[in-house]
């Protein structure tokens, strides 16, 4: 019971931050919600152990990253429906260039995207990313370089971007 109340505190405090992380990881509000929920359910199951040995937040973030790059994503079958308060409708990112980059991210393979999110949003080192995703640092670097390469080749040159943003 006490465990449940601590779990509840954790969820109340961190759920929004985890949803933000899930959103940049997946690029999709549905997936963000899916990932957050699934990772939190797994955290609940492992709560006593996680609290003893790990930081629950790192555990959840690692679970979300791994779920996102795993076969899990297409295999969900349970539904949890929640009702949410209205939030203001925000359509797009402020600049065209940002929107363009966000759209390009959506076209990357999930593992490449996850590596970039962990590096540039979570600000983890490549070794830390390797630990989170359970892959080697070399693989992290190759995913990062492939992902960045694709973005660079697709992003308009700075002068073009300026020209368009005028």
């Amino acid at each position: 019971m006490e465990d449940d109340s601590r779990f509840a505190d954790f969820v109340a405090e961190r759920a929004d931050a985890l949803l933000r992380y899930g959103y940049v990881l997946s690029g999709d509000p549905h997936d963000a919600a899916d990932l957050t929920q699934e990772a939190l359910i797994r955290l609940h199951r492992a709560w006593p152990r996680v609290r003893r040995k790990h930081n629950p937040e790192s555990y959840v973030r690692m679970t979300m990253a791994r779920l996102h790059v795993s076969v899990w994503r297409l295999r969900r079958r349970e539904r949890l429906v929640w009702e949410l308060p209205e939030v203001p409708h925000r359509d797009a990112l402020p600049s065209e260039a940002e929107q363009g980059l966000w759209d390009l991210l959506k076209r990357l393979p999930r593992k490449q995207r996850a590596v970039l999110v962990l590096r540039y949003y979570e600000q983890l080192t490549d070794d830390e990313i390797a630990g989170v995703l359970g892959i080697s640092s070399g693989t992290v670097r190759s995913h990062a370089s492939l992902g960045l390469g694709k973005l660079r080749s697709a992003v308009p040159r700075p002068q073009t971007a300026k020209g368009r943003a005028r």
Partner: protein, 424 residues
């Protein structure tokens, strides 16, 4: 070393994060409920947990994510080996919920009720109709791990074994998508290497045979997420597509080499004989209708869905398309553009079952939460007869694009079987 792209990434990710959906209050209570449900299911081996939990409160029921970063419903998985692949969510606006009489009254010809437990105590999981009076059912060796297939005679409640289902070493995606065709049951599983094992067993009974092993060049590590449910052609071939990589492949049921299907380049299997564009992966093509173009590989017939300028996230089946208008309002209509309706429903997150059905929740006449099966082709809906739990949540089996002719769920000690094939 930082360049423009890296700096841009930092800022775009921070900014995008602000658009994330927000968590509802009481989230932890709901998570704990689901976590316990699963635990119970695991312990009891019942695992009839293809369930949804719908929170009570507020008006109507939220099914979808409104147009953009607005609130979202949550799907969730059981394990990586869960059995059902889903197709994209089609977000829908908030509207009044559906209503309807009990399903036995609305579609009496299509509903059948049998005892949940077999006389021998065996726990079976219905998969599909073999014929009007016989079900294909599976049993599980462990959680979500099918170990055998049976034919279940609905009249006599007798079970006849069809085949054992092997799980080769290194399998990470257990046997799934059992499909019936050409007097066989066909399914697939996936190994850690990304290799897809395609299997078949004769419906009359016998041994499961590995028909072929195929790999599209992507390991599980590299987004190799497996294949969509395969089809079986009348002349005994398995046809399949990968989940996120274009191309249609085929192999004879009796075994042989997997070959690309002529004319299937760049396309995906919807359901034999229909293949089309575009894939179901919503991220890659948010603005392109899914299966807007279809071609019948047996007759050559082509079908193009009517899509109006500005419409987004249009997802089509053989009969019905769903999507969002340019103003964000949800719609559904027939492929030819007729019988369009706005709102009034919340999309089934897994897509439409049998090309036209979805599950929606709403308020019954007494104001309590109810679960309805909606037929988009006719606009009729029916109450499944499932009662909410004490905590107000309500569970029901997931439904989706890959649901076949059968939809089954438990009500008390009964198993309710809905035959979509008998709803005209």
């Amino acid at each position: 070393m930082t360049d423009d792209v890296e700096a841009g990434l930092r800022s775009v990710l921070m900014r995008a994060a602000e658009q994330a959906p927000q968590a509802p209050g009481e989230l932890s209570t709901r998570l704990v409920t689901v976590s316990r449900r699963r635990r119970r299911a695991r312990l009891s081996g019942l695992a009839a947990v293809a369930a949804a939990v719908v929170a009570v409160g507020g008006v109507g029921v939220t099914w979808g994510v409104a147009a953009q970063p607005a609130p979202s419903p949550l799907g969730q998985a059981t394990t990586a080996a869960s059995v059902e692949a889903t197709s994209p969510v089609s977000p829908v606006e908030e509207i009044a919920g559906p209503s309807g009489d009990l399903i036995e009254k609305v579609w009496p010809q299509a509903v059948r009720t049998v005892p949940k437990d077999l006389p021998g105590g065996e726990k079976i999981r219905p998969v599909e109709f073999i014929d009007d009076d016989t079900l294909l059912v599976t049993t599980w060796g462990s959680f979500e791990r099918t170990n055998a297939l049976y034919a279940y005679d609905l009249g006599s409640a007798a079970l006849r074994k069809i085949a054992d289902v092997p799980t080769p070493e290194g399998t990470v995606g257990f046997a799934t998508d059992f499909t019936i065709g050409a007097e066989h049951v066909v399914w697939w599983s996936q190994r850690r290497t990304g290799d897809i094992d395609l299997w078949a067993a004769p419906l009359g009974g016998g041994e499961a045979k590995r028909v072929a092993v195929h790999n599209n060049g992507k390991g599980v590590e590299d987004d190799g997420v497996g294949i969509e449910p395969p089809s079986v052609t009348g002349d005994g071939r398995i046809v399949f597509s990968y989940s996120m990589q274009a191309g249609v492949f085929t192999v004879p049921l009796g075994g042989g080499t997997v070959e690309p299907l002529a004319g299937g380049e760049g396309l995906y299997l919807l359901r034999w004989p229909w293949i089309g564009s575009v894939e179901v992966e919503r991220h890659a093509h948010p603005d392109t209708p899914s299966f807007g173009e279809l071609v019948n590989m047996e007759t050559g017939e082509k079908r193009t869905a009517v899509v109006h300028p500005g419409e987004r996230e249009v997802r089509c089946g053989l009969t019905v398309c769903t999507g969002l208008k340019s103003d964000g309002k949800a719609f559904y209509r027939l492929r030819d553009g007729s019988q369009e309706k706005e709102g009034g429903l919340r999309m089934s997150p897994g897509g439409l079952a049998y090309d036209r059905f979805l599950i929606a929740t709403g308020r019954g006449s007494a104001g309590a939460m109810r679960v309805f099966l909606q037929d988009l082709a006719t606009g009729t809906s029916a109450d499944l007869g499932i009662e909410p739990d004490k905590d107000g949540s309500i569970g029901y089996p997931a439904i989706g694009a890959h649901t076949g002719r059968l939809y089954s769920y438990e009500v008390k000690d009964k198993l309710v079987l809905v035959d979509f094939g008998k709803i005209s």
